[in-house]
Symmetry: C2
Subunit: 417 residues, 2 copies
């Protein structure tokens, strides 16, 4: 129907016009007021209660409650969480996103991405690196110490450096990264380096502590996934202005809390359409197997929502092996499949190895249901128990039921049911 | 014949065993004693007299003579060069390499790459960046000022930082770069970033001048070709131990002085086999055309000699367009062609998009002549007049005559002529 096509065209135009720029690192409570009005913990995915949270998310909640000084230790935090002392809401309800468990609380630093076209801001915490980390449900002293260092040491330095720059143009970094083998979900080594080389001169210019400067450059430079969280805030900043276009069937968010997968659709506003998350198929780190794995989790699927991650697999033959998605030379097949369920290609984000095909842009729930192909997601895999961390990486599909349910609701709303 | 096969096997094993590490930046005169015994100027390519030098090389000679204080200005330098006041020798005769004109003189800083396996060192100057630069024949005040900054500011900082590290493992950086779209000749953006992120923390740790540190990080971080010269020293460090293996038909150096192309072959020691250089076919910067172009020039073909550059085109679909080599998706064809003229594939330097095919390694002059395919080289193109600089980038072939002449000499030496 023409009104849907026109609405989707507007949705895609809004996406392509998005101009995300990294403009600051601030304290979450300063930009998300709700965080300071209660003991509020923002989490990845659609809304969920404590009881239904998976192991790593409960573990992360316990850890972050200790970090915030709301509990004396992990046991105390767990009891308090179970007794209802903390509030839980999705990051997505507060212009924020977070990888895996996605904990965002008042004291944590968040990076700020401004969409210069629409004027909206999006927030995401700083990537902690690999190993035992809170996003994968880690919560011991080493995890909390790192969060404290991010807050007290790295964040102020990054903030000053970003302000000393004129902001970091993220559309350009993503464009460049796609020519360098990144898909921005499970592979961010190129974008992390491109960001570092832009920020490093400003960090040096503003630093008053050469030991901290050296540590900060080492931390950022040795974390191949540093850019993931920047890319996620980029995705949120691009998609939020698309959230409420009447008659549009374009997906504005895909997200998982480790229990449910949820999507939002532009013409249906902020309603979540959820279904149980699936289990990634992938490769496990030595000593771990599928028996250890938690189902799919995190807000990081916002990068697939803007055409990256599993949608840009063709740009990243090296990631195909890492996530166990078959031969490197088959990576392009994933991108071609995703083109079938999208409205457009992004001419500014193109894939050299596919003769500069633009990444698939604007997931159309009608096409997903018609073609019968659900979005492909490249994801990290968390251990299902709290406190352990990442055990592998893989590929997972968004559950088809989210799309069929959304399409049914859309038909009702449009009066064509 | 078996003795040739065995000799080539040894040559390839020596190449693959090479372990290049960036260990220092020093003053060229301190490590190449001949530079201080006369007014000696080392240049790219096989030996050449002043009279036969092309425009940009004469321009660079004039510039570097002023830089060294051997002439009052460019005119004076040109007269002195013509009257025989300076000596000219190839970089390759002194464990060194240099891009394009390849000027190496006593006062300039050179990066030092140690081959830990064989214990030999190789030297290359620091990349000057793009625009008007000496390697492309630029020689005005801005060019000499930049050389002075490299010598007085960047080199001491890099030297201290490298020593503060345990040396930078270059085999690993190249391996990673091949998964990130670099071929290490016309595309070095990934390796430049990987090197910067390793060096930056050490630069911060040793720096006593935050303004210089910021400038240095900006200079390195904004030069996508910064790694080229490191990669060249890597190639020289890997190939020098292969220089004199009896009965081997493996090419140990390919190099051009802008007038002649020269190759050396392991079983034939240090003899050069030369032929007139060819004209690259490529793409020109706005305002320039083939009529402005100087023929092929520089020691940078040492990277093709170790299987990178045009040999690794399949790793770098984005470079195919930049050098005018056809569709991005055709890049793999160049690599496959080069496999036909090489003895082996390098299992540690592999190309994800070609399902981890190792780069073609060990150019065999017999195969080049048999198959009738000359090595493919990705190259920058200099203006043919002195003082102007780079005008484009393209692809060029090594002249077949170098290989037929070398094979004839080899047959005579082996007594099978």
């Amino acid at each position: 129907m023409e009104r849907i096509e026109l609405a989707n065209q507007k949705a895609v135009e809004t996406m392509l016009a998005g101009d995300p720029v990294l403009v600051d690192v601030v304290t979450a409570g300063d930009v998300i007021p709700a965080l300071t009005e209660a003991k509020l913990i923002l989490h990845a995915g659609p809304p969920i209660s404590w009881e239904r949270m998976c192991g790593p998310m409960q573990g992360a909640v316990a850890g972050i409650a200790v970090f915030e000084g709301w509990a004396t230790d992990l046991d105390d935090a767990t009891k308090k969480a179970a007794s209802g002392e903390f509030e839980f809401q999705p990051n997505h309800h507060h212009s924020a996103v977070g990888p895996m468990t996605g904990m965002t609380t008042r004291s944590q630093p968040v990076m700020v991405v401004l969409n210069r076209t629409s004027g909206n801001h999006a927030y995401c915490c700083i990537n902690e690196g690999l190993g035992k980390v809170m996003r994968f449900g880690g919560n011991d002293a080493s995890v909390l110490q790192r969060l404290a260092w991010l807050k007290d040491a790295l964040a102020p330095l990054m903030s000053a450096a970003i302000k000393h720059s004129e902001g970091i143009n993220l559309k350009n970094i993503v464009a460049r990264g796609l020519t360098m083998g990144d898909e921005m979900h499970q592979r961010n080594v190129a974008c992390s380096g491109l960001l570092l080389r832009e920020l490093a001169p400003h960090m040096a210019a503003v630093s008053t502590d050469s030991k901290l400067l050296s540590e900060a450059l080492r931390f950022m430079g040795s974390n191949d996934q540093f850019f993931l969280n920047v890319g996620m805030a980029t995705g949120k900043a691009i998609m939020d202005p698309v959230r409420d276009i009447a008659h549009s069937t374009v997906v504005t968010a895909m997200s998982r809390n480790g229990t449910d997968f949820g999507i939002r659709v532009s013409g249906l506003g902020d309603q979540w359409f959820t279904a149980p998350v699936e289990m990634p198929e992938g490769l496990y780190f030595p000593g771990f197997s599928e028996a250890d794995a938690n189902p799919d989790m995190g807000d990081s699927t916002i990068v697939e929502t803007i055409g990256l991650g599993g949608f840009a697999m063709g740009a990243s033959p090296a990631v195909a092996g890492f996530v166990g998605a078959g031969a490197a030379s088959d990576a392009a097949i994933f991108t071609k499949d995703m083109s079938e369920i999208c409205c457009a290609e992004n001419p500014e984000w193109s894939i050299p190895g596919m003769d500069y095909l633009g990444v698939p842009t604007g997931i159309d729930i009608r096409r997903v249901v018609d073609v019968g192909v659900a979005p492909t997601i490249n994801t990290g895999i968390a251990h299902k128990k709290p406190g352990i961390g990442q055990v592998g990486a893989g590929v997972v599909r968004a559950p088809m039921r989210c799309f069929t349910d959304a399409l049914r609701a859309f038909a009702v709303k449009e009066g064509v049911a």
